[in-house]
C-alpha cells in the first residue's frame, strides 16, 4: 500500500468521531430519499400491478334496478371495452362470538365464470361453486379481524331473514384495497365486511332476479371516461341510476390516491430539504476539516506530490466518508422502507408488496451527498495547495484583527479577556460564524419540522372528536325514515339524547369542477354535530343556501355568495342551484351542510331522516345494541370512540411512522452537525487554548472560551432555526392537504421548545465530549512551532 493511502486510513482513524458524524449526515439525507421514494414506488407499483391483474374497473355506476338486457346496451357505448353488471347489496352480518353489530356489503360474482372486470384474488380456499346459495367468499381483512377461514360460518340478515353462510374463500379485491364502510372515515375491519356470493343466490335473496343494480366497466385505450359516464347516466336514469363515476371518484381508490399523494409530497419535500441540508453541511464540514490540514498539504507538496495526487488524496478521504454514509443510508433506508410498506399493507390490502430498490433513487441520493462533500473538499484543497509550501509550513501568521464598533462602548471594557476572545473570533470570521449558525439553525429547523406534525395531528383529531362529532353513537337507516324515529330511539335502553339527520348523496359542481360527497341536513341548533370556523367558533346554519367545508369550496373555486350546482344522486335526481352561504373548517372529511327540513323540501319528501345521532349510557350499550340489531331499518351502528381510536391508530401507524423516521433522522443530523461544529472549533482553537492553559488559566476558564463560542452560536441559531422550521413545516402542510383530512398548521410552544431544547441538548452533549478532549490537550505541543 502506498504511504499516501496509509495516511488516508490513519487520518480517517484519527478523526473517526467526526468522520462518523459526517457519515451520519450523509446517511440521513440518503435514508430520507430512499425511504420515501421506495415506499412510494412500492405502493404505486403494487397498486398498478394489482389493478391490472384484477382488471380494476375504470367507470362505476349504481342504480335502483335494471333488467339484464339493459347490460347489452351498455356494451354498445362508444369507448367501452368490457362491462360487468352485478348485484350489490348492504346486509347485516353476525359473527359467532362477536357482540357488536356488523355491517356488510354483498357483491355478486357471475354464476359460471370469473368477472371480466373487478376480479377477486383468491388468497385461500375456492370461490363458491356455481348454484350454491349458502356459500360466500369474504374479504381478507374481515376474515383476519375475526379469525375466520374457509369452512367457518357467518350469519347474515338478508331482508329480515337470518341465513347461515359458509365461507369457502378468503379474497382480495381492487375495489376494496382500502375497505371502508359507507360513511366511515377509517376502516373498521371488525364491524364492516365485504362478502361475495354467486349472482343467482344473491339476486334471489334481494329480489333482483334477472336484474342488476351495479355496473363496472373498462374502457378502450384512449376512450374518454367523461363521455362514457354521461352515456351511462343517460341509459341508467330511467332505472334509478344514482350517477356513474370514474375510477378517480371510487372510494377505495381515492383514499389510496390521497395517501399516495401524501407520500409523494413527502417523498419530494422531505428528501429535498434533508439532502439540501446535508449537502450544505457536508460542504462546510469537509472544507473546514481540510483547511485544518494545510500544513500537511504543504509538506506533501514540498515532497513533490502533484496537485492531482494531493487533491485525489483528500477527495478519497471525502469519498470514503461519503461511501460509509451512503452504504449506511441505503441500508437503513431500504430496511425502513420495507417496514413502512408493510405497515401500509395493513390498511391497503394487496396480494403482495412489490418492493424494489430503484437504482436511480440510490444514485440520486448518493450523487447529491457525494457531490456536495466533494465540492466542499475541492474548494478547501484548492485554497491549501495555492500556498507556496514554505509559507504553508510556517505556523500560520497571527490572524488580522481590527477593533470593531463594539469596542468603543463602555460595555466592552467590562468584559474579561476570554469573553473578548470569543467575540473577536466570531466577528473576525463572520462568514464562518454565519455558516455555523446556519448549520445549527437547519438542524433546529428539521427538529421543528419533524415534531410539528405530531402536535398538529393531535389537534386535528381533538378538534374533530371534541368539537365536531359530539355524539357517542351513530345509527344509519337503510332508507329515509319518518322523523319520529328520533323520538322512538329515546325509549331504547341507555339513550339519553337523540338527534336525527338526513344525508343525501350529491354531486356538487361549479363550471367544469365537480365533486361527489354527501349533503348533510341537520337540526338548526344541533347539539351533537358541531360546525365550526377556522378559529373553532360555532357557525350557525344559514336560512338559505348551504355551507361547504372550506377545502371543498376552494377545490370547486367557490366564494361565499357564489352559486353551487347540486345534483341529487338519489330518487328523482333533481338538480338545483343554491348559494354558498359560508364555509366550515372541520379538519376531517368534506361535506355540504343545510338545515334538515330544507333538505327534505329539496328532496320533495316529508320530514324524514336517514340516521340518528345518540348520547348513551356506556353501561347500557350491550343492551342497546341487542335491541338495535333487531330493528330491520337500522343498517349500521357506529361508536364514535371506536372510530376515533381507529383513526388515531391509522394516523399513528402510517403518517406518524413516517414522521418518527423524519424526527429520528432530524435528531441524528442535529447531533452530527453540532458535534462536528464543536470538534472543528476545538481543532481550530486548540493551540490558543493550550497557550492559555500554560499561562495559568484554569480548565474552567479555558473551557469557557470553547463553550462560550459554541453556546453563543447555538443561541444565535435558535431563532432562525424556528423560522426555517416553520417555513419547512408550512410548505409540507400545504402540500399534504387531502380530501380525507387537512392537518392544521399549528406551531405550539411545545414544538418551539422542542426544537430549541433539541439544539441546546445536542450542543451541551457535544460540548461535554469536546471539553473532555480539551482537558486532555497536550500543553507542550502547543508551544512547539510546528503542528
Amino acid at each position: 500500500m502506498r504511504a499516501l493511502h496509509r495516511k488516508l486510513f490513519r487520518d480517517l482513524a484519527a478523526m473517526k468521531g467526526q468522520a462518523a458524524a459526517i457519515a451520519v449526515v450523509v446517511a440521513a439525507g440518503v435514508t430520507m430519499l430512499i425511504v420515501f421514494a421506495t415506499t412510494h414506488d412500492a405502493l404505486t407499483l403494487t397498486q398498478e400491478r394489482f389493478y391490472q391483474d384484477q382488471r380494476f374497473a375504470e367507470v362505476f355506476a349504481d342504480l335502483k334496478r335494471a333488467p339484464n338486457r339493459v347490460g347489452e346496451r351498455l356494451r354498445t357505448i362508444p369507448g367501452v371495452n368490457q362491462v360487468e353488471t352485478r348485484v350489490v347489496a348492504p346486509l347485516r352480518l353476525e359473527v359467532p362470538g362477536f357482540e357488536d353489530p356488523v355491517r356488510g356489503l354483498a357483491v355478486s360474482l357471475p354464476e359460471h365464470r370469473e368477472p371480466m372486470v373487478n376480479r377477486v384474488f383468491v388468497r385461500e380456499g375456492r370461490l363458491p361453486e356455481p348454484g350454491r346459495t349458502d356459500a360466500v367468499a369474504v374479504s381478507e381483512v374481515f376474515a383476519e379481524a375475526h379469525g375466520l377461514g374457509p369452512g367457518d360460518t357467518l350469519r347474515a340478515i338478508i331482508r329480515g331473514r337470518l341465513e347461515t353462510l359458509t365461507i369457502t374463500a378468503i379474497v382480495l379485491s381492487p375495489e376494496f384495497v382500502y375497505q371502508i364502510g359507507p360513511g366511515d372515515l377509517v376502516p373498521d375491519y371488525e364491524r364492516f365486511g365485504v362478502v361475495w356470493m354467486r349472482e343467482r343466490a344473491l339476486a334471489k335473496a334481494f329480489a333482483m332476479d334477472g336484474a342488476f343494480n351495479s355496473v363496472v366497466l373498462n374502457l378502450q385505450v384512449g376512450a374518454d371516461a367523461e363521455a362514457v359516464v354521461e352515456a351511462l347516466d343517460q341509459i341508467l336514469a330511467p332505472y334509478g341510476g344514482v350517477g356513474a363515476y370514474p375510477r378517480s371518484d371510487q372510494v377505495s381508490h381515492r383514499i389510496l390516491e390521497d395517501e399516495l399523494q401524501q407520500v409523494r409530497v413527502m417523498a419530494t419535500v422531505l428528501p429535498a430539504i434533508f439532502l439540501g441540508v446535508a449537502a450544505f453541511l457536508l460542504h462546510v464540514l469537509m472544507g473546514r476539516i481540510i483547511r485544518m490540514q494545510r500544513e500537511q498539504i504543504a509538506v506533501l507538496k514540498a515532497f513533490g506530490h502533484s496537485l492531482i495526487e494531493i487533491a485525489g488524496h483528500y477527495l478519497m478521504l471525502t469519498g470514503l466518508i461519503v461511501t460509509l454514509g451512503a452504504v449506511l443510508g441505503v441500508g437503513v433506508g431500504a430496511w425502513l422502507a420495507d417496514l413502512l410498506a408493510g405497515v401500509y399493507m395493513e390498511y391497503y390490502r394487496f396480494p403482495e408488496v412489490r418492493f424494489r430498490l430503484q437504482p436511480w433513487v440510490v444514485a440520486v441520493a448518493v450523487l447529491v451527498a457525494a457531490g456536495a462533500s466533494l465540492l466542499g473538499a475541492v474548494g478547501a484543497v484548492r485554497a491549501a495547495v495555492a500556498l507556496p509550501p514554505a509559507e504553508a509550513m510556517r505556523p500560520p501568521l497571527p490572524e488580522r484583527f481590527k477593533p470593531g464598533l463594539l469596542e468603543r462602548t463602555a460595555w466592552w471594557r467590562q468584559l474579561s479577556q476570554p469573553t473578548r476572545i470569543i467575540l473577536r473570533n466570531l466577528s473576525r470570521h463572520p462568514l464562518k460564524a454565519i455558516l455555523s449558525v446556519t448549520g445549527i439553525a437547519l438542524a433546529g429547523a428539521l427538529l421543528l419540522l419533524g415534531s410539528q406534525l405530531f402536535k398538529a395531528m393531535e389537534q386535528m383529531v381533538d378538534v374533530q372528536y371534541r368539537l365536531v362529532l359530539l355524539m357517542d353513537t351513530h345509527l344509519s337507516f337503510t332508507d329515509p325514515t319518518p322523523e319520529r324515529a328520533a323520538r322512538e330511539v329515546l325509549h331504547l335502553p341507555g339513550v339519553r339524547y337523540a338527534e336525527g339527520y338526513r344525508s343525501v348523496p350529491v354531486r356538487l359542481s361549479n363550471g367544469f369542477r365537480e365533486y361527489q360527497t354527501s349533503l348533510l341536513g341537520m337540526e338548526l341548533d344541533s347539539r351533537l354535530r358541531g360546525i365550526i370556523d377556522r378559529d373553532h367558533r360555532p357557525v350557525s346554519l344559514p336560512a338559505e343556501g348551504l355551507l361547504l367545508t372550506d377545502y371543498l369550496a376552494e377545490y370547486l373555486g367557490l366564494l361565499p355568495g357564489d352559486r353551487v350546482r347540486i345534483e341529487i344522486m338519489e330518487g328523482r335526481r333533481r338538480s338545483v342551484i343554491l348559494p354558498l352561504a359560508g364555509t366550515v373548517a372541520e379538519p376531517i372529511g368534506v361535506s355540504a351542510y343545510m338545515e334538515r327540513r330544507a333538505v327534505n323540501r329539496l328532496m320533495g319528501e316529508g320530514p324524514a331522516l336517514t340516521g340518528v345521532w345518540l348520547l348513551t349510557e356506556p353501561a347500557d350499550r350491550p343492551a342497546l345494541f341487542r335491541e338495535l340489531r333487531d330493528l330491520a331499518r337500522v343498517m349500521g351502528i357506529g361508536l364514535i370512540d371506536d372510530a376515533e381510536a381507529g383513526f388515531r391508530e391509522m394516523i399513528d401507524s402510517t403518517l406518524l411512522a413516517f414522521m418518527t423516521i423524519v424526527l429520528a433522522l432530524s435528531v441524528s443530523l442535529a447531533f452530527a452537525v453540532i458535534y462536528n461544529n464543536a470538534r472543528i472549533t476545538l481543532a481550530e482553537r486548540s493551540r490558543e487554548l493550550a497557550t492559555l492553559r500554560v499561562l495559568g488559566l484554569t480548565r474552567a476558564e479555558v473551557s469557557w472560551i470553547l463553550i462560550g463560542e459554541i453556546g453563543l452560536l447555538t443561541l444565535l441559531a435558535i431563532p432562525p432555526g424556528w423560522l426555517l422550521g416553520i417555513a419547512f413545516a408550512y410548505g409540507l402542510n400545504q402540500a399534504m392537504a387531502v380530501d380525507m383530512y387537512r392537518i392544521p398548521f399549528v406551531i405550539t410552544s411545545w414544538t418551539i421548545a422542542f426544537s430549541a431544547a433539541g439544539v441546546l441538548l445536542a450542543s451541551a452533549l457535544s460540548l461535554l465530549v469536546t471539553t473532555r478532549r480539551l482537558l486532555r490537550i497536550d500543553l507542550v505541543s502547543a508551544l512547539k512551532t510546528g503542528e
Binding site: 497571527p398 476570554p418 492553559r693
Partner: protein, 250 residues
C-alpha cells in the same frame, strides 16, 4: 573585588541565596509506540533566587523537556523536582495550574500570542487572574512597547510580539521566568532587543530566570551556563562577567 564576587557566585549557598528549584535524578522517557526515547537521563540541577541561568545544548538534548518539567507543563518519569518547599512531582493538576498562574512566567519561541487580543489584552489575560500583578501598561512599558499597546499581534513584528510575550510573562511578578528559545525565530538585532528586555527584568525585578538556547553567544549574558547533552548535564560554568545583550558578538 571581581575575584570575591566570582567566589561568591561559585558557591551560592555560601551567599545565602535561596534555592528556587532543585531537581534530583530527573528522567523522562517518552514511549512512542514500541520505541522508548530517553529525553532526560538523571538530571540534578539547582536554580537559585535571582540568577539568570542559560541552558545550552543542541536540539534534542532534553533542555526543553527539563524546562517544561520545571514549568509544570510536564511530569518526569522518575526523580523529584522541588520548587521552594513544594514537590512539583507530587502536585495534582489543580496545584500545577495554580503554580503556573502565580509563580511562573513563560516565554516561547513561537510567541504564542492570542491573535484576537491586543498587546494590552494579551497581558491583561494574565493580570486579570494574578494575585498582585502590575498593570498591563506598566509591563508593556518595561519591555519598551508603551506606544504599541492597542496593536493586535498581526500589527506587530516578531520581536515586538516576543516582547509582548515577555511583558505577559512578567506582569504577574512571577518568582521564575522560563524562556524557551525566545530569540529562535528572530534576527540578531531584534534578538538583542528581546534579550535586553529579559536581562533588564532579571536585573531590576530580581526575577529568577532560566533561558534555553542553542546559541553559545547568549551564554555570555548569564550568571551561570549549564550545558546539556543527550539528556544529561555535562558542564556548568560561571562567566567572569555578565555581558549586556548589546555587548554580545553575534
Amino acid at each position: 573585588m571581581a575575584r570575591q564576587q566570582a567566589e561568591a557566585v561559585a558557591n551560592p549557598a555560601a551567599t545565602g541565596r535561596e534555592t528556587v528549584f532543585q531537581t534530583r535524578g530527573v528522567t523522562k522517557v517518552y514511549v512512542m509506540g514500541e520505541v522508548k526515547i530517553h529525553a532526560l537521563r538523571g538530571v540534578d540541577l539547582a536554580l537559585f533566587a535571582g540568577e539568570l541561568m542559560v541552558l545550552l545544548g543542541p536540539s534534542g538534548c532534553g533542555k526543553s523537556t527539563l524546562l517544561n518539567i520545571l514549568g509544570g507543563l510536564d511530569t518526569p518519569t522518575a526523580g523529584t523536582v522541588t520548587y521552594r518547599d513544594q514537590e512539583l512531582t507530587r502536585a495534582d493538576e489543580r496545584t500545577l495550574t495554580r503554580y503556573r498562574r502565580h509563580e511562573v512566567g513563560f516565554v516561547f519561541q513561537a510567541y504564542n500570542m492570542i491573535p484576537s487580543l491586543t498587546a494590552r489584552e494579551n497581558v491583561a489575560i494574565v493580570t486579570e487572574i494574578a494575585r498582585d500583578p502590575m498593570t498591563p501598561e506598566e509591563a508593556l512599558e518595561l519591555v519598551g512597547l508603551g506606544d504599541r499597546m492597542d496593536h493586535f499581534p498581526s500589527q506587530l513584528s516578531g520581536g515586538q510580539q516576543q516582547r509582548v510575550a515577555i511583558a505577559r510573562a512578567i506582569a504577574k511578578r512571577p518568582a521564575v521566568l522560563l524562556c524557551d528559545e525566545p530569540t529562535g525565530a528572530l534576527d540578531s538585532t531584534t534578538s538583542a532587543g528581546v534579550l535586553e528586555a529579559i536581562e533588564s527584568i532579571n536585573r531590576t525585578l530580581k526575577t529568577t530566570t532560566a533561558l534555553i538556547t542553542h546559541n553559545e553567544v547568549i551564554g555570555e549574558m548569564a550568571d551561570r551556563v549549564v550545558r546539556m547533552s543527550d539528556g544529561k548535564v555535562v558542564d556548568e560554568r560561571r562567566p567572569e562577567r555578565r555581558l549586556t545583550p548589546r555587548e554580545l558578538e553575534w
